[in-house]
Every structure is written in C-alpha cells, then in structure tokens.
C-alpha cells in the first residue's frame, strides 16, 4: 500500500470518527429545564419560581373558571369584574394565563389587606395547595390605579410569602 493510500485511509477514518462524535453529542439526552405549564385531563403542572413544579387539579374544567371572550387563553378564576362568585361586588379578580401558568390578582375594594386575605384564601382552597406552593407560583397581587392610585403599581405578593409587602 502506498503512502498516499495510508494518508487517505487515516483521513477517512478520522472523518468518520468526527462524524460519529458529532452525531453522538447531537443526540445525547440533555436536561432541558423549561418554564412551561403542562396540562393533562385531570391535572395542571404549574411552573414554579423555586424550581419544583406544582401539580394541581385541572381547574380549567371547573365551572367557576370563565374564559375571557376577548382574550383567548385568559380565564377568570371565580370572580369577574362585574360579579363576584357569590353574586356580591367582587373584592378581587383573579385572572389566569393558560400559556404561561400565570395568575394575576387585582384587589378591587378597600380595605385592601382584607381583599388580599380573601383572594389568597380563595386560591389556596380552589387550587388545594399549601401556602409554600402558592408562594412559588408565577403570580402578581396588585391594586389598579382606579381603585387606589397611591397603592397602585406595586406587587404586594401573598401576605404569608416571605417577599410580601404589608398593606
């Protein structure tokens, strides 16, 4: 075998080895952490800010959850702006974004501290999770400017969470 043949065979083998390594690396199972919400028939796995997802019942099937006609993928949990779940004037509104698993809680009546307590108690019971799990969800608790301008623009968090702001 000539010198040229040796070089060519070595080169081809090297190339095959490189292609093999590349394919192995490309197809190697990798740990992908995605901040996404997962839905099954019976449950919803919500993203958590502390790392461990929170599994709850599929509350979107609950009749208390009302789809927002103007915004597909957005839901009212319990109250709407016009009517509380018990037909009273709503003290708070909870909206849920299906895509991101995000809860947005607006406090609508004073005293605001009372409204926050009511909202967090409602969610705790509705989702059937403990306070720690509730704290780890993606959520905001705030006050619209038309309710109280001075109190608006701040995320108050749930009162029992470490990062809460007193009301």
């Amino acid at each position: 075998m000539s010198k040229l043949s040796y070089i060519l065979i070595t080169f081809i083998l090297g190339l095959l080895l490189a292609i093999g390594i590349t394919l192995y690396i490309k197809n190697k199972p990798t740990l992908v952490i995605e901040n996404k919400v997962t839905y099954t028939d019976s449950s919803v796995i919500l993203p958590s800010t502390t790392g461990s997802p929170v599994e709850v019942i599929n509350f979107l099937k609950d009749p208390a959850v009302i789809a927002d006609a103007q915004n597909p993928g957005l839901y009212f949990v319990g109250n709407t702006f016009l009517k509380g779940s018990d037909n009273s004037v709503p003290a708070y509104v909870v909206t849920y974004e299906e895509k991101n698993g995000y809860f947005n809680i607006a406090l609508l009546v004073k005293p605001l501290a009372r409204a926050r307590l009511d909202a967090e108690k409602y969610l705790e019971n509705f989702l059937n999770i403990d306070e720690n799990s509730l704290c780890s969800l993606s959520y905001t608790v705030s006050v619209p400017g038309y309710v109280d301008e001075a109190a608006s623009g701040i995320d108050y968090r749930f009162s029992f969470c470490p990062d809460n702001v007193p009301l």
């Binding site: 080169f11 702006f81 974004e97 947005n104 705030s142 623009g153 995320d155």
Partner: protein, 337 residues
Amino acid sequence: MTRILLFLLFFVIPSFAFGADLVPCGGPGEEACQACHLVGLVNGVITWLIGILGTIAAIIIVYAGIKLVTSGGNVSAKTVAHSMMTNVIIGFVIVLAGWLLIDTIMKAMVNDDNYGMWNVVQCVEQPKAGEKHLVYSNPSTALSGVSGWGTGSLSGSMVATCDADGINSDGSLNYNCTAQVAQCQSTASIATVNTVAGTVTCTSSYGGTTDSSGLGQCNPSNGACSVSALMGYGLSSEQANIMSCIAMTESSGIPSTPPYNTVHPGSNSSACGTFQIVGTTWRGVATGACADFSNCQNASCNAQVMSSLVQSNGYSDWTCANCNNKADDCVARYGGS
C-alpha cells in the same frame, strides 16, 4: 530554492503584513487589553498561519507545475513533481477539514443556532465597579446561580454582560442583550439595559426590594404588558419598560378590565383595558379590526392603540394632569435605561 521560498514568505508576501494587526488592543485609539484579547491573539496567529499555509501551498503547486512541465523525459523528476503536488493538496485539505471539524463539533456542543464560526472571537468590555448605571441599591439574588450573572455585582444588583453582535459605524461594539433581559425577566425581575457598556442590571421587581418609588412592572409572564410583549408592538426597550410600569399602575396589567363606567354607572370615565384608554382617545387612534371601542378589552388592540399614542404623543396621555400621578414616577424610574 528553500531559502528563496522562505525569503518570499517572510519579507514579501502580503500575508505577513497581517502580523502587524495580531495584537488587537492597547494601541492608540484601541480599547484597553483584557484577558479575552489573549484568546483573540492566539486566534489571530492561527488565522495568520492558515493564510501563510495557503500562500505556501500555492507557491509549491506552481513550483511543482513548472517542474512537471520542464521534466521532459525524466521519469524521476516527473514523479517528484507529482508527489509534491499531491502532498500539498492533501495537506491543505487536512488543514481546512480540521477547521471544519472543530466548527461542526463546537456547533453541536453549543447547540445554538446563533453561534457563529468557532474562530470568531469578540471581546466585550467588562463591567467595572462604580459605573453610574448601577443605581438600584437593593439586591436580587434570583440570578445568583445562573451562569453569567453575579460576577459584576455592585451593591447587590445582579449584572451580566450582553452578547456583542457586531461593530457600529463609530467602531464601538453593538450589543445584543435579548438573552440577558429574558433571563432577568424570567425571575420576575426588572432588567435595566446599558447599551453603551453592554450590560444588563437585574433588580427584583417585588415590593420591598425595589427603589424608593416601589414601582414595579407587569410580570414577565403577563402576555398583555410584560416588557417583551410590549416590544412586540413596536415600542423601544425604554418605552416598553415605562409602559409596562404604567400598565401596572393603571389596571394591574389585566386586559379584560371593562370600561370604568360599566362597573361604576355613575362615572363618566370610559377608561378601559390594560392601559385604561378612554373612548374618545380610542376612536381617534384605533384602526382596522380594533377600530370599534368594544375591542378595548382585547389585549392586542389595547396595546396597539397605546403604541400609537406613545409614538405620537409620548407618555402625555398618562402623565397629563389628573390622569395618573404615578405615570411620571414610571417615566422617571424606567426612562433613560
């Protein structure tokens, strides 16, 4: 012959002139040297050597060709010329295949479509302690475990360096901070971009950990008014930061907020939706499918009208007298980012 070739290589061929640019920093009008430039220097030497090799290969091929033509009936000279040409071509292919091999492996390992050629090194200015843009005094620890964050912290704020993705006409680096802003916002924090220094300062948006105004922005998961969502409606980064804050103060970032006088029949205010836009303003701006005020609770329509208002009037529709006293605070807090 070898001596002539070496003389040509090192004193005549233009490739050698590239050697003068191997040190890319520290000279007049150049940025100060940092560790990254050492990598740039090694990379420059490799590129320069490949250039030299190409020239050598070309010269040897020409030399072998001349030898082949002038060999006449001399079989031995013909064989030498042949093998010379073959070896040069194989050698050069191996050099180039090596480059391609590393490029392919690096791309597979990095697994990022935006990853460029492996041998392109871009040095970015590192954050320095005491820079004026680090104005927020409260710490965010949310990114302490995230790669790239925390190394430039000052007074607790988390800082990351943006990716350099080109060079501006004035010679300065153009930064792409999209990834860093997204990482910051994924922890529900506020991203403050410094486009000159190419840094992102990440501060918690939650109450008790913000500055004295206490103003936050819509949650990054809020599709109606997060900073990234608003940038999708044509707002600049600064405009989106300000309007995300204003949306929080106006409606808590809830697009479904009905016209105020629907819930409070005694009122004459029709402020509606994420940005609490009133009917008269809406009708003067909204077009197409959003034209009718009944669409004011639609997140997309409300954001489109808001964007048109910001582009034509700035923030005056919210900062006007008796409109929203906190809107000015939002402009002050998030403006100039």
